[in-house]
């Protein structure tokens, strides 16, 4: 239940976050000076938190999206299965986000 609205929430976060991906690519195209300014902005505490939130939204939406695709195939609707996959999605999203930043930092 909570996970369902979280799917929508993370989707909106990424819709807005798409601007960040676009800004990143535009700055790569614009040249080293603009890129360094963008990189410096993203290296601040606020920028970091933004990126960590973005990445969690991505991994959560990805994991829960796959869960939805499985449901679309007509499988996994038993209460026990749905509860188990909910926990799996939540833990996987947190774990992969942590692993991603462990590699990055």
């Amino acid at each position: 239940m909570t996970l369902s609205i979280l799917h929508r929430g993370t989707g909106i976060v990424m819709a807005v976050g798409l601007l960040l991906l676009t800004a990143w690519l535009a700055c790569v195209a614009a040249g080293p000076a603009d890129y360094d300014r963008f990189a410096a902005m993203m290296s601040t505490l606020f920028g970091r938190l933004l990126l960590i939130g973005w990445s969690f939204a991505f991994f959560y939406h990805l994991a829960n999206g796959i869960r939805h695709l499985v449901w679309d195939s007509g499988r996994g609707f038993e209460k026990r299965q749905a509860n188990a996959s909910a926990w799996f999605v939540l833990i996987a999203a947190l774990a992969v986000t942590a692993a991603f930043w462990a590699v990055l930092l």
């Binding site: 798409l18 991906l21 990189a39 290296s43 990805l62 695709l69 990055l104």
Partner: protein, 126 residues
């Protein structure tokens, strides 16, 4: 101009008026993004993201340029479909609804075009 009879055109469309088209497009772009998104995070985590030269090398690599373009297209499309549903669910007044749908439509097209233009600029070395 369609040769289909008016009855044939509306049968099975339901109250949303577009049948399963939107639902299906959302699923297809989701499947594409599963692969493209995973590719991106795996590859980008291995790039020294603060090093401008390394980033240009990554984006400018031909295979990466193509996959990044596909990623941006699929992401913008999937996001457009998702935001459309959110607007339709929460914005009820006709005026604001149409205006926000059009704004979201424009914004997503701009995001896609700017991203792809930037990728091509780097990839083609302009």
């Amino acid at each position: 101009m369609s040769l289909r009879a008016p009855l044939g055109r509306v049968l099975g469309l339901g109250s949303a008026k577009d049948g399963t088209g939107h639902w299906w497009a959302q699923r297809v772009s989701a499947v594409a993004l599963t692969f493209l998104g995973l590719w991106f995070v795996v590859r980008i985590s291995a790039v020294s993201i603060l090093d401008y030269g390394k980033v240009v090398e990554f984006v400018g690599n031909p295979l990466n340029s193509v996959l990044l373009t596909l990623l941006c297209l699929a992401a913008a499309y999937h996001s457009y479909l998702g935001v459309q549903v959110v607007i339709e669910d929460y914005v009820h007044a006709a005026g604001p609804k149409v205006v926000s749908l059009i704004l979201s439509h424009f914004a997503h097209i701009i995001v896609a075009v700017v991203s792809i233009y930037a990728i091509l600029r780097v990839g083609l070395g302009a």
